[in-house]
């Protein structure tokens, strides 16, 4: 059975019990009063019975004397039995107040009976005169009996006067009690019902409030209901639902974020592709032309020019096909060397290039065209502006967990705020006006991050007028 029903049943039972108790008490009281009334009436009736029975004896006697028949004798005997019974009843009326009179009364009845019996004896002996005398005596005694009955009734009235009055008062009090109890019960019931209904509606109210909050989108407030009935169950379920929704929403948010990032990388890729395609029409022609020129230069004995042209063509080819694929570190470094060869041809002695490579790292995967743009950046900012030229170092080494690719120059350095902008990606395009192959610094950073999946893939350390060091950390 569930507990709201239990509560209702309990309330009903209590009300019923109270009613029953009241009813029983009043019934008991009524019964008691009734008994008292009966007792009082009995007393009077008993006294009256003596009087009337004695009179009936006299009447029967008279009839019998006039005409002594069997039938009348029987009737007389019945009357005599009746008065005998009445006498027995009178014994119970004895109390301190009327003891004396009552004793007299009983003896008077005895005398009456004796006189009657004597009369019958006289009749039996046919002594008419004696009988007449006894009859008059009996009549007198009967009168005395009725007088004494009245006296006794009078005494009763006096004795019980207070009693009667208190009975009357009592009935008034009962009436009052009834009214007060009625009022009391109404009051108590009102309070109990109020409390009871509150115990049901309060949780509902709390639930409603919680539902309101939920509908307003606040999923972080706990649903609290302090009862033990079905409402509590409802509240618990509701709360669980809230938690579930909450989890789902946060999951959804998380997914959306991922989606967004994915979208972002796709856009970047497309951008790169677009740029590549833009420069794809002429490159094929250029590439073929460059190869022809290279062969021509070689045939004409200008080997140096031929090599330079091969490098340019290599970079061009690499550039054309591999923008959206990962390549090995070795391949990337090869392209880098070709690029440096070209730049050396341009800057001659102004550009010093040193490369220290741990060849065990050649197999690591890396997005294509990541190192070259960074070196290009270094060449543009560190070598080009300085008349005396500069030096660029590239080091590849590894430890237990990571492979590090360091690129260092001794140029003017990058201001701190610019580094921060680069790392956060707010510096949109540095390479728009660049003279190089056109893939920007921030593009590289983004692609590295997307590829490796962690933010600290690139570190930039720069000192004013001393140089800049860019470190790429690749997890093995």
């Amino acid at each position: 059975m569930n507990s709201i029903q239990k509560k209702i049943l309990l309330l009903t039972t209590i009300v019923l019990i109270i009613m029953a108790c009241m009813w029983m008490a009043l019934t008991y009281y009524n019964n008691k009063t009734q008994q008292q009334y009966n007792e009082i009436l009995q007393r009077y009736l008993k006294l009256n019975e003596v009087t009337s029975s004695s009179q009936s004896v006299i009447t029967d006697l008279n009839n019998y004397m006039i005409k002594p028949t069997k039938e009348k004798e029987e009737q007389l005997n019945r009357s005599k039995e009746r008065i005998e019974r009445a006498k027995q009843n009178v014994y119970s009326l004895r109390n301190e107040e009327n003891n004396f009179v009552l004793t007299n009364y009983i003896h008077l009845i005895d005398s009456f009976m004796e006189t009657t019996n004597r009369l019958l004896l006289f009749l039996a002996e046919n002594d008419g005169e004696g009988a007449a005398q006894e009859f008059s005596e009996a009549t007198r005694i009967s009168n005395y009996i009725s007088e004494m009955s009245l006296t006794l009734v009078d005494t009763e009235l006096k004795t019980y006067d207070v009693f009667y009055r208190s009975i009357i008062e009592q009935s008034g009090e009962v009436m009052k009690l009834g009214i007060f109890i009625l009022l009391l019960i109404i009051g108590v019931l009102f309070f109990v019902t109020y409390w009871f209904s509150l115990s049901i509606t309060r949780p509902i109210l709390q639930l409603t409030k919680a539902a309101n909050e939920l509908s307003n989108g606040r999923f972080d407030l706990q649903v609290k209901v302090e009862t033990k009935d079905e409402m509590a169950f409802l509240a618990r379920t509701f709360d669980r639902m809230r938690i579930n929704i909450n989890t789902l929403i946060s999951e959804m948010k998380h997914k959306a974020q991922l989606e967004h990032e994915l979208q972002q990388s796709k856009i970047l890729l497309q951008e790169s592709k677009f740029k590549t395609l833009q420069s794809q029409i002429s490159p094929h022609f250029l590439f073929n032309t460059l190869n022809t020129i290279s062969k021509k230069a070689y045939l004409e004995g200008s080997e140096e020019t031929s090599d330079l042209l091969v490098s340019v063509a290599g970079i061009l080819r690499y550039n054309l096909k591999q923008i959206d694929q990962s390549v090995t570190l070795g391949e990337e470094l090869e392209v880098l060397k070709q690029y440096i060869d070209i730049q050396k041809a341009r800057f001659t002695d102004r550009l010093q290039f040193h490369m220290e490579v741990d060849t065990f790292c050649f197999g690591a995967r890396i997005p294509s065209l990541t190192l070259q743009p960074l070196i290009e950046n270094a060449v543009i900012h560190a070598i080009e502006p300085k008349e005396e030229g500069g030096t660029i170092w590239v080091r590849v080494n590894q430890n237990k967990d990571n492979i590090y690719v360091e690129m260092e120059d001794d140029g003017a350095g990058i201001p701190e705020e610019k580094i921060q902008q680069l790392l956060k990606g707010t510096q949109t395009e540095m390479s728009i006006h660049a003279k190089g192959i056109g893939i920007g610094f921030s593009n590289v950073i983004q692609r590295l991050r997307l590829f490796f999946g962690y933010d600290d893939v690139i570190t930039i350390i720069s000192k004013q007028n001393t140089g800049t060091k860019v470190i790429i950390k690749m997890k093995k």
Partner: protein, 315 residues
């Protein structure tokens, strides 16, 4: 709410509290001795004293006693009371003697028939007429003598004395008369006149008094031998004369005696011992019933009498 609770509690308490004092039922089955004292003149100072004496004694003896009586010499009621007492089979009847045939018939025949002992009190009826067990009260003969001697002492040895008597000639009156006459007849100069009234009702006493005042205007002294006439006697005389010229004497067993004496309208009266009578009668009745004193002295047990004078001096 609290107030309501309070009122409810109070009324509930009122309703269920039963402080009715019902008379207790008689516990002991052992029956007490029941005595009845029957008089003709209830609520007179004299008989009140008798009753209180008797009541005191019966309380002491732990028996129940009731005083019945008729008011103002109602003879019929009085006799009825006696008859009821007899039919009620009380253990003993103490009764003021009444020297009439009906009374004698009741005591002699009916009471004996039921075996109920009777003691006469204050006024006696001779045992041969009433078959009483005994008599408790004053010696009326002596009382008569006492009052007569007081008269001689006050009036001297000559004069006319009117004796107011009731023509019923009751025993106690005759005894008093005997005493008075015995004293007065010694003096030859004292003239005795009898004034008779038919009974002691007021009308008849007035008639008798006026008659004697008319016949004997020169009387010197009055003695109301039956004390019940003295009140009327004084009032009739008072209407006609100043009281002073007469010597007036009576006995204390009427409602008016004491008042008249205190007012000085009576010169002296014989005072009896009513309380003692009551006590003694109950005592004797019990003694007889318990068989401690059988038989009782048939001549009666006499109680003290004395003269009380108007100035309050006892002699």
């Amino acid at each position: 709410m609290m107030v309501l609770c309070y009122f409810t509690a109070i009324t509930a308490n009122n309703v269920f509290r039963t402080d009715w004092q019902l008379p207790k039922p008689v516990v002991s089955n052992q029956e007490q001795k029941r005595l009845v004292l029957i008089t003709q003149d209830r609520d007179t100072p004299f008989w009140n004293k008798v009753s209180s004496g008797a009541a005191k004694q019966s309380e002491k003896e732990q028996i129940s006693l009731e005083v019945w009586g008729s008011y103002g010499n109602n003879e019929e009621d009085f006799l009825k009371n006696i008859e009821i007492a007899i039919h009620s089979k009380v253990d003993g009847i103490i009764v003021q003697g009444l020297d009439t045939d009906e009374f004698k018939n009741l005591t002699k025949i009916k009471a004996s028939f039921y075996g109920i002992p009777i003691i006469t009190i204050a006024n006696d009826v001779p045992i041969k007429d009433s078959l009483r067990r005994t008599y408790v009260g004053s010696n009326q003969y002596l009382a008569g003598k006492l009052i007569a001697e007081q008269l001689i002492q006050d009036m001297g040895q000559t004069g006319k004395v009117v004796l107011m008597i009731d023509s019923k000639q009751e025993f106690f009156q005759n005894e008093r008369l005997r005493g008075i006459e015995e004293v007065l007849l010694k003096y030859k100069d004292i003239n005795i006149v009898y004034a008779k009234t038919v009974d002691t009702t007021k009308e008849n006493v007035v008639i008798a008094t006026q008659d004697i005042l008319n016949r004997e205007p020169d009387a010197d002294a009055y003695i109301a031998v039956n004390a019940n006439v003295v009140g009327t006697l004084v009032s009739v005389i008072g209407k006609r004369y100043q009281i002073e010229p007469y010597y007036l004497y009576s006995f204390d067993d009427s409602p008016d005696s004491l008042t008249l004496l205190q007012e000085g309208k009576m010169d002296a009266m014989v005072e009896q011992s009513p309380e003692k009578m009551g006590e003694l009668s109950v005592q004797l009745m019990l003694d007889w019933l318990n068989g401690e004193k059988v038989p009782l002295d048939q001549n009666g047990y006499l109680t003290d009498i004395k003269i009380v004078k108007a100035d309050g001096k006892n002699e």
